[in-house]
Symmetry: D4
Subunit: 225 residues, 8 copies
């Protein structure tokens, strides 16, 4: 049972996560000091060729970058990534569909994650249900994907429409885009959980990373292994 870890006092870095779960440990940046992020990154990079820090800050990036000049900063996605060697390519394609332009940062977080994980990504943007012909126009592209991530704020209706059009797994990501009775993304979240489109699954508000991770796990279902 590959269950080791490295204890550095303020963290027990789970160095066998990739063996168990398929992907190495990802650093969740929120609430950590830049020094803590840098120290955890150091441990992970001892064993891994890639690194991802989600919900990161520019200060955290600076701390990591000081030690690892190949650490990239993804402004919109708020991610730090390092890719020293490509992970094996995953089969199939993930379509990342956005209801509106304002939802792009969350979609970017998903895309950055998937690229690092070795997945092929197909981006489709601004196909909200208030102009449903824009969605119908990309129907074939959707059906051609292996998994579909649908990112939407406001009423979060897009996943229902997508799920009704195609025979692919649909992962819905509510975003905090909206105001008033959007309640920080709650309206979109509830909408997606109550989707009349069968088989839609949902992740946390603005959690592009989580959707990407789930999509990558699904892609592996199609692996020859």
């Amino acid at each position: 049972m590959p269950d080791g870890f490295t204890d550095i006092g303020f963290a027990k870095v789970d160095t066998d996560r990739r063996a168990r779960c398929g992907f190495a440990e990802v650093i969740f940046g929120q609430g950590k000091t830049p020094a803590q992020v840098a120290a955890i990154a150091r441990i992970i990079l001892d064993k891994e060729h890639t690194l991802i820090v989600s919900r990161a800050t520019p200060e955290q990036h600076a701390a990591v970058h000081a030690e690892h000049p190949d650490a990239l900063w993804h402004e919109a996605a708020r991610c730090i990534t390092i890719e020293r060697q490509k992970l094996p390519a995953l089969p199939g394609t993930v379509a990342i569909v956005c209801a509106g332009t304002s939802d792009l940062p969350v979609a970017d977080e998903a895309a950055v994650t998937l690229h690092l994980f070795g997945a092929k990504v197909q981006r489709i943007t601004d196909v909200g249900v208030a102009g449903i012909h824009r969605l119908l126009a990309v129907r074939d592209t959707l059906e051609a994907a292996t998994v579909i991530i649908v990112v939407a704020g406001m009423e979060g209706a897009l996943p229902s429409a997508v799920a009704g059009l195609v025979s692919r797994p649909v992962i819905a990501v509510p975003t905090s885009i909206g105001y008033g009775a959007s309640f920080g993304g709650l309206a979109a979240l509830l909408g997606m959980l109550n989707s009349c489109g069968s088989g839609v699954t949902v992740v946390n508000i603005d959690n592009g990373f989580g959707a990407a991770y789930a999509a990558a796990q699904i892609l592996k279902v199609g692996s020859p292994s």
Copy 2:
């Protein structure tokens, strides 16, 4: 200023409501005893040829029917109506669109109300966004209507799709159809309030009557008077 009323102790019946607001007072059945409903009905029928009791019970209908054998009971819509003389026909048509079969009782309440108010009604049922081609198939009918009432539970996405297809006022009615994170219709309500379809207005959960009343007021905008 037509502001009279008849005081019967437990109620001050607003006998000039029609002069002020265009329609006579409607009895809200919830929380009233059958005897109270019957007494208020008596006062209204002294001056009016029509009566509507919303959120009514079979017991309230029995009490009214005992005095007024022409009092009809609308099971699904939970309404009592009396129509002794048709109200003047309102111009135009109201389309009542339902996302699913389960939303029909709320749509029925709207339809019963509109018929009594003299409006022409066009019913369209089961065109939820998970099978969007069913909605596109009725696009011309929608555009032909003067006002559109859209009734939907679960994620409440249908009004956004309708509002993006047509140039008509859209009144959205969330229903309590759903379970779990539907929270009694809250998900549909929030979805409709956050609609990305411009100009959608919303009434209370399951409030088919309110949507009908608003639609009737809009029809009158088209009156020659």
Copy 3:
């Protein structure tokens, strides 16, 4: 079926929205970069003579203004507008009624939108129910309007009082004015959804634009066409 759009990567601009819905696409500013807003504006202005960006920022205005010196900035309403040619005048009048002076920015957003859409607007301010005689004093003005938009924060009681006085469609806009148990406008929103004034319809908190759009759709009901 007039369902074209222009794909510029981060947006699919819905260039046939006016043909379908009666008004051209409106840019929702929140969450978009100034460059994105400017780019979308460019596409819209290729086909349209008017432009409106709601929930905009001064930075977005600067970006649009740099290309289009006729782009106006409406500080209180947080809107950018361009009007190169007046849209055809809509019949009737929209009364915009405010409960208090603090609700004015939301009313301004509604007014800016309606002016651009070719509607006549009648403003009435500070007639909250705690001094109901101020409302009664404008009763004739209200009845003379074709549609009434009622803007109110705190307990959101004004739409009920207005709906009980007149025979016009009433669109209620809750505002986030208040504190404590106002919960960012939730109290006003719930108050309006539960209005005892028949036929009140409601839009999202602070959504002056949405109310204006709905009012304009209603005005068109009265058009000779």
Copy 4:
């Protein structure tokens, strides 16, 4: 310090409450067995000439009535009362104002309590803000009262209107009348807490008893003592 009590195991009956607080202990019926209510009643009646059990059940009444045949059952108000000797009359009058007929049971609870406490009560029913002329018609009666209890469900707007008309303390009681986004009286409660009518104070949803108790305490401010 008059702080005695009688301990009967499952209750410590506060026999000096009247000395401290002005009124004897009131039994809160909810969640108590009929036998428990009867036992507590016995202790209280040892020292007092009056008794009130709020939120009572018919079974609790039966148990009390078996021992005290003068125990009355107030169906709508869900109260048990015994009055063997009138309490000293309180100065002034309490107006109990109801928005609608459906709010009557809560108003009844307030009235039953006030009568027992020796207060004069003036009932005014069905003066909701959707027919504001009905409220204006009773303006003099309101101003003639010493304290005003306003009972309203749905959007709970009536207290604001009353507080803006008179110079009397206004106690607002939200009721659970309504449906959907009324959320069991939450909408009315929030509306009243955010009232633009200065000086409105609020009690719990459906708490007619609490409003009556507070009103009685206020009446005593006017006592010569």
Copy 5:
């Protein structure tokens, strides 16, 4: 019927409020520009000798002070007041009781208001239920008051304890002091609404002004008039 007002476009100043309600109109500062506050103040001061602006900002004070050098700024209470002539003294005393030192700003708002209204105020601070002996030590002072305002954050338990000790009207003010599951004062608000101390009435979170206004109305019940 003393129902005049002065219309200055963005406000209809209710110049007969004092005749109707006993106190002149109070300006609610939130959401108003300094210029708007100054203009409304000007109208009120034409007829009144006192002025109060609640929820004010230093900028609003500067604008009022520029025209009226006797305008005072109450930092903690966030109020502007002007007092050119004392209002007639109200009979009795209002005790303002605070659970903790952190609740003082809200108590200050109540005190500033009451002083201006001509009421005598007795301040008692830091007598929270976690050291109940501190409350018992001031029991006589509490009983000597005519009305008691109880200000408390966190769990809001103090009003229940006070109401169980005395025979005076108790007005509870929840404050936003607390964190986590205090949810901005919601915990204290709900606690007070569910008080087991009979007759406690409640105002909005942090609403010291409203409590003071209600207390002043109650004091007038004791007036000889």
Copy 6:
């Protein structure tokens, strides 16, 4: 574009759903009359060899069974199924993991659905995190599955623990098992949405059907197609 439907008035049966989405339309029983369910079933069975009605009632089963004696009733799962011919077997296995015995009905709904869809199911029950060794004991079984559905009420912690052990897609189903601050499954739902186990996706409370549908879509990713 296979977008046909059969219009029977109260429903537009989506007869091409299988062509588009991979599985035929499923009847959502809630809120439909037995007659409506039977009528929709008739249309579907014209084209399909299998039928599933979710959220069904015994009355609805009786109505369907009267016409189709092969209609089975799944008591715990509240489903009606008909299987006249097996659907093609899906590759792989779905593990359905339950935190506790009380969560079984929701797991049953998932299992019934998957069996009908042609999926192989592996059931694991009562491995909640309060006895984590029970989960570790089935670790190999979990890793051997293609997709894992995790059903849990109360705090909903099981999906996090499972996701940290294996490299498979994890679909979490919160259940309404619990009381008090479980708020009908809300606690479990929020827990799962905030899972620290990367890649967990979530469906609505008690939505075993939805989880099964999503799992079946994922199984198809592994199809040789």
Copy 7:
């Protein structure tokens, strides 16, 4: 590592719970069939001399009683217990303090559990903060206890007062006693979480069992072992 369990298909009975956690597995009755409860009980009683089923139903008791005639039914506490041999006595005493008579069923659940676990229990009932002298009268009894469980509904203020009087661990149990804005015990829960009495810890609404379990764990801290 004592981590065995017995797998009976619908349950994995954790037969080493007592070795790990100090007490044998407790059956949570909610959502289980009588047959399931009986089967699990059978496994537990193979190794243990005591049994407790919480949140049980009379039907579950009947099923257990049929096999084990010494199974007791605790009506108010909704528990089934079997005690064939007394567990070793725990040192010290647990005081179970109730705010009101209506909270007794929850206190009973705690008492039944503690008795079975070998703890000495001291009951104190009806000492809510609205008659604080009743609490002060039992101060010595409270201080003499080792741990104090405080059970209260409505505003849940009692734990704060108790924690301020004594130097003992205080475990607070909110109850669902109350109505309206009590929201099923939410008000009491939030009150207790925000207690100004230092060191109060809280369990779920109506969770007398959980409080008893925690108290028993604390008693063991005082054990000589």
Copy 8:
């Protein structure tokens, strides 16, 4: 009855708290001015050798430090402490267990408090349930503790896992770490309240101090006295 206090106007410092409750009064910094904190500190230090100010600001520390140069500032824990003489050592050990590195500041607040109270502390960090082997690795350390404080954000699942492993009192502290549907720690709070691990008790979100205080009270149960 040791119930003295020192009244300094804006505070009644509870100088006998230690005699009653075991620990001297702790200053709650939130909402107090630096001068107020310094003044209260002065009173407490007249009688005590230790001081703690929780939820403090650097400005408050500066004010206290100016008078007491031995006042320490704990950045992460946001506490001020003074320790002029060690308090008597408490028996046993408190384990403070963190789910993730981001939860450390809350754990620090608990540790600072416990050190000052004379308790021995054992820190364990980053053992969240998504890598459960890290928790199993410290099982012996956990069992060796007298009390266990478990600090966790996001879904708050760690306390359930810990409570299922050991026979020690478990105090759970939800943190506000998370985003979206974490709702500021609400998800973790609800998760912990619904823990399937028997006997878990919970304190307010981010309330490390409260957990420490409760743990210290429990340690005293093991005192020889």
